[in-house]
Subunit: 205 residues, 2 copies
DNA sequence: AGCCAAAGTGGAACGTGTTCCTATTTTAGA
DNA sequence: TCTAAAATAGGAACACGTTCCACTTTGGCT
């Protein structure tokens, strides 16, 4: 009775090949995040990632065609985790603005608790070109999703164009603020301030 | 009578040393912009810049301690030119929003007419860390200045905190839109749209 | 004019992202 | 079980940002 799992990998969410391949991919992303967390963007060196993931350099490049792809993919994974964590928890706050601010500050606080990791991921995000558009778009969707959920906690059906536009602008401000912070040009407090002001300007009804 | 200009360089706006030094600096920035204009960020190679500016590599590094400094300094010079050009010209448009959109679209159009240059300068701007804070801040001031002038063409005295906050948010959106565009993730039309929507959201009185 | 410190030259050298190549191992299918 | 294809290992090689060094030129001072 050889139950040698007859090729059955079709259950994978995104069809990422065999179990061994999924495992390698995970090891690589884990190593990336460890290194980023310790030393930021510069510490994520391809040879170091390969070593720590116990994978050859060529294999690393087979999975992720560049350092930027690697880091943006890591960002995507982290962001999915964050979004999932936010999903079930009810958003606190009376007004729309309060709820949005609450969600954003929560997320920002989470990122600021690991500055090096945030620096690495944000830098990669800002440097990414068209070849990473898919991953970037995915992250953008997650952010929009988090924001609109904060705006309408009890599952609205109708998101107006304006709602989406507002979410987008807030996302832009958030990103700028984050860049200012990771590059050491603004403090954590200023970053929070910047976001709060923008949200209040945009959601004053 | 030897009128050999007795050390008289104290008239320089920012005290940038001797005429020879100012000349070298200019040659370097010119070379940078030429190369960026032709091939974007990747084409601005330090050896190439040094060659074209007719300067040794070490000298280039004496003037600009990194490629990022070099490009951000080039951006600063270009932006000063742009800002000066906008200064005298009256801003067209009835409403505040119209005027701001007009100024931003004009500037954006200018940048989009030289995509490679814009890509190089924007990339550098986004990658700049704290050591370039001075130059970055200068560019931010110029942008704010352009925006508030568009908001109040007839020289208001009182810029409220809200005015400045709005200008800042618009600047953030502009930057995000620009990054999306230079990295090939959004089209020129989408970029304009994105800015217009944000401005209308923020200036709807 | 002659001297000295600062600035510039020319180029070697190093680190890290990326590419490439060959040998070996794993995997899928007959 | 056997075999061909795909994946991986291991590492050399290359490109470009950056650093460094020995030497030369420049410019201000006496």
């Amino acid at each position: 009775m050889g139950d040698r799992v007859s090729t059955a990998n079709s259950l994978a969410v995104d069809d990422l090949g065999s179990a061994a391949q999924r495992d390698r991919r995970k090891r690589i992303l884990d190593a990336t995040i460890q290194l980023a967390s310790q030393g930021g963007f510069d510490a994520v060196q391809m040879r170091a990632v390969a070593d720590r993931a116990d994978v050859a350099l060529g294999t690393l490049y087979r999975y992720f065609p560049s350092k930027i792809h690697l880091l943006v993919s890591a960002l995507q994974r982290e962001f999915e985790r964050t979004e999932a964590a936010t999903r079930d928890r009810p958003v606190e706050g009376e007004t729309t603005a309060d709820r949005v601010i609450s969600v954003l500050k929560g997320t920002t606080r989470g990122m600021q608790s690991d500055p090096q990791l945030t620096e690495a991921l944000t830098r990669a995000f800002m440097f990414a070109d068209a070849s990473v558009a898919a991953e970037i778009h995915q992250v953008g969707m997650l952010l929009t999703s988090m924001l609109t959920r904060a705006m309408y906690p009890e599952g609205h059906d109708e998101l107006t164009e304006e709602d989406v536009a507002i979410a987008r602008v807030i996302g832009d401000v958030w990103l700028s603020a984050l860049v200012g912070w990771v590059t050491g040009r603004t403090s954590a407090a200023e970053t929070g301030q910047q976001i709060e002001v923008a949200v209040k300007l945009l959601l004053r009804d």
